[in-house]
Symmetry: C2
Subunit: 274 residues, 2 copies
């Protein structure tokens, strides 16, 4: 909402949050024009609705909002998974309301109003994922893509299914890999935590993310996450076998492949330095 206000994308910005505390803190924000007690009240008369709740609650939240949605309203979201969400939403939307899912690769391991930032989306990739059946009107897709681009993201268009396969590898698996490292280290003497370097810090950073949000992601994208995780386990086993056999040429080839993939990543992501 901060970003939308900063870029002048909305005349009136109406907010709803499940939490009464967040709602009362919203009242004091300059980027918030009105705060509402229910989703239904919040969306009344809105041209564009952005649903920002965990992936497993998007359809339920939209069901609560549905009676307030007017004909011609456009709905998008920020959920980290898209296949289930885009399907579930179809069942709750009133006639004449279009849903075009989105997933901006923004945010950090910190959540909540106090970490909201007007430049949150700057330069980040944003998936826009119109479902194929029933087809979404082209104007609705264009309007949602335009909205996300206007917030500063780099919009890419994929089907919900392909999106879920990509992020299972580029986001969900890295999260689980970092979590497993942290769980392993949690079993070691606590003082080891003071003995790491910047590599440990960066490799595990995302593991501090909200477990409830990540539980929902794993649950919603279970099939793809499982495939990515199994592939990752196979790579580690390949490496383990080579180390156990003292086959260090294979270890080196593995490291070279990894380096080749990784060394141009920063330039390709073109993320702002944080």
């Amino acid at each position: 909402m901060q970003a939308a206000r900063a870029r002048g994308l909305a005349g009136h910005l109406a907010a709803w949050s499940r939490s009464a505390g967040t709602r009362s803190r919203c009242v004091a924000q300059s980027w918030c024009d009105s705060v509402h007690e229910t989703p239904e009240d919040c969306v009344r008369g809105a041209a564009l609705v952005v649903v920002c709740v965990p992936a497993d609650r998007i359809a339920d939240t939209l069901a609560l909002a549905a009676p307030g949605l007017g004909v011609g309203a456009l709905v998008t979201d920020v959920g980290s998974t898209k296949g289930h969400v885009c399907e579930a939403v179809q069942g709750v939307l009133p006639e004449g309301v279009a849903f075009v899912g989105a997933h901006p690769m923004a945010g950090s391991e910190k959540s909540g109003l106090e970490h909201a930032r007007a430049d949150l989306f700057e330069g980040r990739v944003c998936f826009v994922t119109p479902q194929e059946k029933p087809p979404v009107p082209v104007e609705a897709i264009e309007a949602v893509a335009h909205f996300w681009a206007a917030l500063g993201t780099r919009v890419v268009m994929f089907s919900p299914g392909v999106h879920d396969r990509v992020v299972a590898h580029t986001s969900h698996l890295p999260h689980l890999a970092a979590a497993a490292l942290s769980v392993l280290l949690q079993r070691k003497p606590l003082e080891w935590r003071r003995l790491g370097g910047p590599g440990l810090r960066d490799t595990t950073r995302v593991a501090a993310g909200d477990p409830l949000m990540w539980r929902a992601i794993v649950q919603e994208n279970r099939r793809q996450v499982l495939r990515a995780l199994e592939d990752y386990q196979a790579e580690l086993e390949h490496l383990r076998v080579a180390i156990a056999a003292e086959d260090f040429d294979t270890v080196q080839a593995f490291l070279v492949t990894g380096k080749n993939w990784r060394e141009h990543l920063d330039a390709e992501l073109s993320l702002p330095v944080t």
Copy 2:
């Protein structure tokens, strides 16, 4: 060397490098008083020698330097593994020369003269690892610890064996975990590389490190790396089984454990923000 000059820790700074190119670039550096063609020449008359070569070449490099080392000279290093190194070094040191191994947790995935920085060691942990047999004179241990502390590091003292067990978990395993993620992603469409967020960037960053250096680390610390890797595989398998069984309470408990370990890491590492 830049850091030692910046903090006024040395009267005369003499440099040697295996590479003729690096040697000639050293000549032009203000923090370098003399550049030498051989290790033996370089260490002649030195009170303190710092061996900065990959772990598997430390003993060989010291063997070349040995004829130049005078009685009372003190030798330390920056190798990422310590058990093998500290043992191998014993066989090549002349009488009256003490070796006290060290491992500053500094540097990044970038190596080479062009990435040297005077503040490289600021706030970083530095392991100082005197071997137990034969015992090292206490004054030598204190002098080496003092040197590393004077460069701005937080010195911690461990035996070479305990050091190797700790860093297998806090540094070597995170490196292999990041490398395996990168290798897996290398098998996917190249355009996926543009579709990541900051989590992907950070989780894989170290995989861009020098494969030859990391091959040597895995080789030198094979036994401990293997144990850490096997423990990591067990954690991932535990997670996979829970996801496959749709036991999302177990998944959540896993994520909570990881978060608990990770969320205070930044404060404990007290690393400068980079």
